[in-house]
């Protein structure tokens, strides 16, 4: 991918490389129940990200990994080889391990694990197309899939990444902004509880920018959450990866 200057990423008029304003999130679509063999599932399109999440379980956990007083939640985030600009090896990488953990810990506070002792719940996430902020889009897909599976939850979890371009904070960064920008700051929240469940930051931000980022994220997350909830209210949709499908 060629390198872009800060000016190419954000014009003097405040327009970003994909035409958005600094406070404008990407198109966000959620389809629920798109798989038949999973207990719950969701397809999320966030910008050009296409993320499929499926939940298997709850089922009885194997003896050596079960807890007497709660469920075990496992998360596996995996990218398909064709999902990225350069072909990705299908082998599970350290980065995928790191993201799987971050996503799991983002979801755990919302799942009422103690309602399901001795069981295991598996969340499988496949990135079909990646466009920056895949971990946020994955959280958005996974929390809806968990709800679709009927797993008891305190709240949904909703996520968005704040970025910094040309010393300006921008909302819901895409691939080019992630690669060439000054910061990548993914945040997940339980919207109704105003609690942060995922927080990672790479880049350079000062104290004030961090505070402002969280406030910006809170706003977007409210809108995305509404879309998640509406999707859950709709009935089963046959899976079509393509928007036109």
């Amino acid at each position: 991918m060629s390198k872009l200057s800060q000016e190419e990423l954000l014009t003097d008029d405040g327009i970003r490389n994909d035409g958005r304003r600094v406070d404008e999130a990407r198109p966000f679509e959620v389809e629920v129940g798109v798989l038949t063999q999973a207990n719950g599932s969701a397809l999320v399109r966030q910008g050009k990200n296409v993320i499929l999440a499926g939940v298997m379980g709850p089922y009885e956990a194997e003896r050596h990994s079960q807890y007497l007083d709660r469920a075990v939640l496992k998360v596996r985030y995996h990218m398909q080889p064709y999902s990225t600009n350069d072909r990705k090896s299908p082998t599970y990488s350290r980065r995928e391990m790191e993201l799987s953990r971050a996503i799991r810990e983002a979801l755990e506070p919302a799942v009422i694990l103690t309602d399901l002792p001795r069981t295991e719940i598996d969340v499988f996430i496949e990135v079909l197309q990646a466009d920056g902020g895949t971990r946020c889009a994955s959280v958005n897909a996974a929390s809806v899939a968990l709800a679709d599976a009927g797993i008891p939850m305190k709240d949904l979890v909703t996520a968005v990444a704040i970025g910094k371009i040309r010393d300006t904070l921008v909302i819901d960064i895409n691939d080019l902004e992630d690669e060439n920008g000054q910061a990548d700051f993914p945040i997940a929240m339980m919207p109704n509880k105003d609690k942060i469940t995922l927080l990672q930051m790479n880049g350079l931000l000062d104290e004030a920018e961090i505070k402002k980022s969280i406030d910006m994220a809170r706003g977007v997350i409210g809108s995305l959450y509404t879309i998640q909830v509406n999707a859950l209210k709709k009935k089963y949709t046959p899976l079509a990866v393509s928007k036109e499908g």
Partner: protein, 276 residues
């Protein structure tokens, strides 16, 4: 986990019900023995890939992504491009699938797709040389089974063909080769038949797969020749079963192929219109 020999996961009663139906040339989902479930093909579903397709065969769903890159040829074929086929089982596609490297099943499905294309000489690998011995086109064809409701084999075969046909070279390769796509010479399509007791049926559903004695996948070309056959499962076949399968595979293969060609054509004309 594999099922016991004489009993599918739905029990002996279901087996008897299934046989009863088959005797009346019917299947439990209402199809006749030689009819496929509905087939739906979406193209360019992963625009970041050079080619992609989603195939829905009933509720079975396979995604194919094609990446086209420039790379070094194999030492023993310096004058040929490289075709690499992989097949991944998404762990949410079926409760029995486990994450990790491809197992025997996934390897088998992937190899049948690979062999059907390679042996059918669908792609002229000799036309993919940028600089002999140093730089050729690498075709990465990656298939993902995202929902398994039976007959992943044929869904994968169709998705692979559709993705390859609709793939476009990245600029650098297109200008080096003087054309913008792979231009297939042949159009291999797999047709899978299952045998239960004495009945042969096409496009087995996942409920039927549980009771199959054996399965035979036959990949045919548009000229009626067969480019790959693969028997799986542990039930034996008679010679008549095989010949019946070959004849049926050609017939059904023609129907499936026509749908792929039509879909790709429509897609290309729409794409051309969009770019005008």
């Amino acid at each position: 986990m594999r099922k016991p020999v004489f009993q599918g996961s739905l029990g002996q009663d279901y087996y008897e019900y299934l046989i009863e139906k088959l005797k009346a040339n019917q299947r439990v989902d209402g199809r006749t023995l030689d009819s496929y479930r509905d087939l739906k093909i979406d193209l360019n579903v992963v625009p970041k890939a050079e080619g992609s397709a989603q195939v829905q065969l009933g509720k079975t769903s396979v995604l194919a992504g094609v990446k086209l890159t420039a790379g070094v040829p194999y030492a023993d074929t310096p004058d040929e491009g490289v075709l690499t086929v992989g097949l991944d089982l998404a762990p949410f596609a079926h409760p029995e699938f486990q994450p990790g490297p491809p197992d025997e099943k996934a390897v088998g499905w992937g190899r049948v797709v690979d062999r059907g294309i390679r042996e059918g000489k669908a792609i002229d690998l000799g036309s993919l040389v940028i600089e002999e011995g140093r730089k050729v086109v690498i075709i990465w064809l990656d298939l993902t089974l995202i929902n398994h409701e039976g007959n992943a084999q044929d869904a994968a075969s169709i998705a692979a063909l559709a993705a390859l046909m609709s793939a476009r070279f990245p600029e650098e390769i297109a200008s080096a080769l003087g054309r913008d796509s792979l231009e297939l010479l042949h159009f291999p399509v797999s047709v899978t038949l299952g045998k239960i007791s004495d009945f042969m049926l096409v496009d087995p559903s996942i409920e039927e797969e549980d009771y199959l004695d054996s399965e035979l996948s036959v990949t045919s070309l548009e000229d009626g020749r067969i480019s790959s056959m693969q028997k799986i499962l542990s039930g034996p076949l008679n010679e008549e079963d095989v010949m019946k399968a070959v004849i049926l595979a050609k017939k059904k293969g023609d129907e499936l192929r026509e749908l792929v060609l039509k879909t790709v054509k429509k897609h290309k004309s729409r794409a051309n219109k969009d770019s005008e």
